[in-house]
Subunit: 267 residues, 2 copies
């Protein structure tokens, strides 16, 4: 099984990704896709008069503050629009794609962060009524059921809490946990950079290979969102995923290139 | 199998429906839910500056004109918001609900109406670039796969064309075709009226029973959207569904009441 995370960042060529996925699936290689939707959620939130609010945790991670209205907008954008249109696009390429979010069948269960500690203007604050979660487990059996029926799952980054609340979860970590649950041979994270860069944003400073023992060192090079990707890679490898590849989604054959060793491989 | 269509009209008590569904599922009675989303699509379309446009076909049926932008809004509202929140609500009631639309896994295949003949201000017109469809088939095996895995499918009214285009389809007819595909014993259509009324809107003129042979006569009493429901009922019965019940979604136990014979039964 290959798990592919498609970033929503500008530049990732969805048609090229779908073409590569179709080639894999036709060759009998099962694929599971995971996508995000942050940028489009920001746009729709702003259009609907409820602009996004980003907060920085005391540990230094930035995330979306997801009140109930934001959660509903996030569900509309990710599970409604991006997921449906990606499934439609894959169907046009002959892939029998099947969209779901982690809420469906409790595929992704997360622990709700009911209160998050943030830093704002140098002050520490507690934010409540947040609908985000940290993924605890992924139902790999349910995903295998779909794959064994000839379907290609396409997963939107929502999860369900043990109390039955829908939650916004980080798509990179969702992809990592999905890859772990299905014991994927490879997890490919497509972004709009060539991989992990030693001197961000200098694309010539690509790090082609990182040993699993050097992940802590690699975290030092990771900027912004790349930190979460490196942490996700670490989690995925710990759960038995063969290797993780950070690859460039802007190439003509982004998935094929990743499988040929372009990008940053962590193994 | 019982298929339940939940109308989006004001008054239908979703918590009461979910409670009744939970009781059925806990008793080993599998259920499939189908929902609409017309009213919320109108509201979001208007908010986004792309107000809804309704057209009347030359045959006298009213439907939403669905250009590409409207299709995307329809997907956001139905597959994204209504579906996710209904699945979440059912999960809170202990039902392992699983949301999908007809696009997923080609569960519902429809023929796209590329051009529709309409009547506007007394003139006949052809409208093109419409993303609506007439359902041709429903993949009952895929739904059975989900049900046999202990899941309760919740279906949003989107379909896919043979060319791979996502399409807006009528939710009542979707429910009827789903019921036919899974050979449901009963199809329950919950609305905000007690059933089919002889003298609409006089609720005391409820018709409790219609024989399948008298459906043409019943069409004469059907007002507006009820016409599509009666046609759907006719299609469902022709496909082997045991009986169709038009029932009141505003009651304390709307599904239980329908199963006890309240509403209009067609058999």
């Amino acid at each position: 099984m290959i798990v592919i995370k498609i970033g929503g960042a500008a530049g990732v060529d969805l048609d090229a990704v779908c073409g590569d996925v179709a080639a894999l699936v036709k060759n009998g290689q099962p694929v599971i896709l995971v996508h995000g939707g942050s940028a489009e959620t920001n746009a729709l939130s702003t259009q609907l008069g409820h602009p996004p609010r980003f907060v920085t945790s005391t540990a230094g991670f930035t995330s979306r503050y997801t009140d109930r209205q934001t959660l509903e907008i996030f569900a509309m954008v990710t599970a409604g629009k991006i997921n449906t249109l990606l499934v439609e696009r894959l169907q046009k390429y002959g892939v029998n794609a099947f969209g779901l979010s982690g809420v469906d069948g409790r595929t992704i269960v997360a622990q709700r962060k009911e209160a998050i500690r943030i830093v704002e203007n140098g002050r520490k604050l507690m934010l409540r009524e947040d609908y985000t979660g940290k993924i605890e487990c992924v139902n790999g059996e349910l995903l295998a059921l779909l794959v064994n029926a000839g379907l290609t799952p396409v997963i939107a980054p929502l999860a369900i809490s043990t109390d039955g609340d829908a939650l916004n979860v980080d798509a990179d970590r969702a992809a990592a946990m999905v890859a772990g649950a299905v014991k994927a041979s490879q997890l490919i994270l497509l972004t709009n950079v060539p991989g992990l860069l030693r001197n961000f944003p200098d694309e010539s400073s690509l790090i082609p290979f990182i040993s699993v023992n050097d992940i802590d060192g690699a975290l030092g090079f990771a900027e912004g969102r790349m930190k979460k990707k490196v942490l996700g890679a670490s989690e995925a490898l710990a759960q038995g995923v063969g290797k993780v590849i950070f690859a460039d989604g802007r190439l003509e054959h982004p998935v094929a290139a990743a499988l040929e060793g372009k990008g940053t491989t962590i193994a």
